[in-house]
């Protein structure tokens, strides 16, 4: 694997195994698109079946949702910056922006959990209606992905500190950035087709 290193490419593309991993992760993102599409389809079918329970406009709060959106959007941007500085072999900037990304991600999670607790206190639980079942599972799956991403990123930061920038750590950093951007893409659709749609109707 350490053979055939092509130094003209960015670190993460330099070895064959790295290129395999990056392509493999793109294909995994393809699978993730299908996974979230299925959850959106379920929400599309069940999203208006309130069963006498609360409706979207009863519970959604624009301000909270906007803050969550801005946190995640900004974290996607800072994650991009981290990779940008990685390509300039600037370890310090990479770490700074990557840690900011994580903090923003954690902020998003905090807001989302607070939002969920708030709903539950208002009597809107996963068991209340088909609308809320599909809402909580769609949002929960996204939130679980963010949580997983944060744990994964912490592991990666430890490895970056231990080993510095090598083709392997650079590849791992690049792949987690793809994952993080993808979670933002999913959020755009949640924001539009769950929250905005719910507040229009």
């Amino acid at each position: 694997m350490s053979a055939n290193v092509n130094h003209s490419l960015p670190l993460e593309y330099q070895t064959e195994q790295n290129r395999l991993n990056i392509l493999g992760f793109w294909i995994f993102i393809g699978a993730e698109i299908v996974l979230f599409a299925t959850l959106f389809a379920v929400y599309g079918v069940l999203g208006h079946r309130y069963a006498g329970g609360p409706t979207p406009s009863d519970i959604f709060k624009l301000n909270d949702v906007l803050i969550e959106t801005l946190l995640l959007l900004t974290s996607s941007f800072t994650c991009g910056l981290a990779v940008f500085f990685m390509r300039q072999r600037n370890m310090k900037q990479l770490l700074v922006w990557f840690v900011i990304t994580l903090l923003l991600g954690a902020g998003f999670l905090f807001m989302e959990i607070r939002e969920f607790i708030h709903y539950v206190h208002e009597g809107a639980t996963m068991q209340t209606s088909a609308f809320l079942s599909s809402f909580f599972v769609l949002l929960g799956t996204h939130g679980a992905h963010v949580t997983f991403g944060i744990i994964w990123a912490i592991m990666l930061i430890i490895q970056l500190l231990q080993r510095g920038l090598t083709p392997v750590t650079a590849r791992k950093m690049f792949i987690i950035s793809l994952y993080w951007h993808f979670l933002d893409v999913v959020w755009i659709f949640i924001f539009t087709f769950v929250y905005l749609k719910g507040m229009v109707g």
Binding site: L9, R19, I33, L70, K197, V200
Partner: protein, 99 residues
């Protein structure tokens, strides 16, 4: 590959556009007085544009020796996603099944 520029121009531009698109969507959805269908079409299109921004300006989907493969992969995934979402809604909310 990315240009060897010193400043992350494409990231900054992408971020600014994302912010603008987000706020335009909020404005269209909550402040404009047009029909529900039109609102959904507009904000749906804005979401797709913003997803495209992420894909091309942040994730650099066309980059590297597998750029073409990645584009085909994403296109096929989007095709499948549309089939699942539109198909399920169509099948389960039309005809006698819905009643």
């Amino acid at each position: 590959m990315e240009h060897k520029s010193k400043y992350p121009v494409s990231h900054v531009v992408g971020f600014l556009f994302s912010l603008i698109l987000t706020f335009v969507a909020v404005f269209v959805a909550l402040k404009m007085n047009v029909s529900y269908t039109i609102v959904m079409w507009i904000i749906g299109s804005l979401a797709i544009i913003q997803a495209g921004l992420q894909l091309f300006m942040f994730m650099h989907v066309t980059e590297g020796e597998d750029g073409k493969t990645n584009v085909i992969n994403m296109a096929y995934a989007v095709f499948v996603a549309i089939v699942i979402v539109a198909g399920s809604i169509w099948v389960l909310t039309s005809g006698h099944a819905a009643h």
